[in-house]
Symmetry: C2
Subunit: 332 residues, 2 copies
Amino acid sequence: MKLSELGEFGLINILSKIVEDSRDPQSPQWKNMVAGIGDDAAAWKNKRGLTLATTDCLVENIHFKPGQSSWRDLGWKALAVNLSDIAAMGGKAGYALVTIGLPREAEVESIIDLYEGIIELGNMWGVAIAGGDITSSEKFIISLTVTGNSGKHLLRRSSARPGDIIAVTGNPGMAAAGYKLIEDGIEETETDAPLRQAFLRPSPRLAEGIAICASGSRTAIDISDGLVADLGHICNSSGTGARINTDLIPVHPTARKIFPDQALDMALGGGEDYELLFTAEAQVIEKVKRTTSTRVTVIGEVTTGPAGVVNVIDENGRPYRVEKAGWDHFGK
Amino acid sequence: MKLSELGEFGLINILSKIVEDSRDPQSPQWKNMVAGIGDDAAAWKNKRGLTLATTDCLVENIHFKPGQSSWRDLGWKALAVNLSDIAAMGGKAGYALVTIGLPREAEVESIIDLYEGIIELGNMWGVAIAGGDITSSEKFIISLTVTGNSGKHLLRRSSARPGDIIAVTGNPGMAAAGYKLIEDGIEETETDAPLRQAFLRPSPRLAEGIAICASGSRTAIDISDGLVADLGHICNSSGTGARINTDLIPVHPTARKIFPDQALDMALGGGEDYELLFTAEAQVIEKVKRTTSTRVTVIGEVTTGPAGVVNVIDENGRPYRVEKAGWDHFGK
């Protein structure tokens, strides 16, 4: 079977099962594993708590087009998407390994800029660049692995319970709006700069992830695949359903102004947002709101099912159909 | 400047310096770092000893050609090259993160075979596959990150001292000989199978790395770039020179038989060998020989200098010129 017929998530399911079936119960590594394939980051026990590790790869023409963002921004983003995975587990960031694949005709200055973008964001979170690999490649590849750590608690995808309140940080859809402004070649203004920044230099929600976990929530995901798709991942992993209301979605006012007909769909299905979606009892959500200055908005509720199904309800109480919910790399 | 003018090692030097200059002395991560860019793996202190991490990337048409090796062998090798880096630090293997970039028209069966190769070798060393990333890509990409751990001692590139004896495990040049048999399309025989295996399914020298470190050596590298080139890396990092003798090099008898005129150059410059080259006082080398059943051969001595220079001496005491010593990805 071709990969394009199976799709990305079909492949992940098959590979997860192969890995799961191969577990060696005698191996201390397997014994200490807490979260494996299928969460934002892997987690295993160490002497003090949990070690986290995640890896995310950006490939030229798939994840970025040279010229659409600066090399410095691209370096920043390559680290940010990994830090966001650590944030979605409720962890602190640790070390980064940087793998780059480079065409022979690449400009050395571009690669230095790329590294400086990684370092700029890394220094904001105490991340040390510990090593990596450099290889030649026809297309640019930027693949980072980032470690982290946490105490004994984690934010998982699999721990949502019916009745949990669903909340989200920030304004989903900003990155999709920013991407459209850039893709359409629209001249930058002071007003739309935050949208572009959300796409080019996303801020990983590390402090918020720690606050969410410390407040008592045990369920989160980052919404890099899009809010509805990622809520679907939580529902699939938890065996629950979910209901969210379009009139509760905190669409950014500038996105709504520039894209009045698309801003809601961008927020629900746009992807590339690095906000955190999390679930918890109402009083936990209130505690999170008190302990972070970042906007936190309640958007719906976890339901008993059907498992994996996210119901999006419009302001008239009718089902709302989201345009482009989620992203499959192999375009099933 | 174009990358092809600067070369791979010039780029690594520039990036290492940028990273070094950006160290945040307040960050606990930077404080705990023991080995960063420029060794086989990174190492940082944890509560019990040292955490190791390494990453290595195989790209289609650069590191492998589909059809030349099976997908299962390719999976094995992708993990082996990373485990070899852990071995070269004297560590035990821990967890693996697997990133794969796949064309849409890839066969699902191939990807399953690839994973099974990773798992087959992983299970030999207790390595748990903890996660990864799957992305679309025009060419196949297989990038693994592997963690490990060690006690307080490590094998480094920078700790060789003049007067140290230089030794190597196994038979360098087997992989280059095996590669030539495959590349030339020569039909496999029972005799030449070990050469092909050395190229297709290299055995990481994890047990030997631990034995070398436990015996009291503090200096090793794997010879994936080729024996002379990697000895040069040790000399550069340690500020020493080295002298090795061609008549001491343990060329594999089958390689010598099939390639009488090339086998020595394959052993000195061939690359893709995952043997360990290490240095220590004579009595430490003897101890290593007693504690491992793998062949260990003395091939020369560390000298005062010139720094970074490896003198290869033939059986008549004359300088020997190695064909193709080392590999630069950007073909400076």
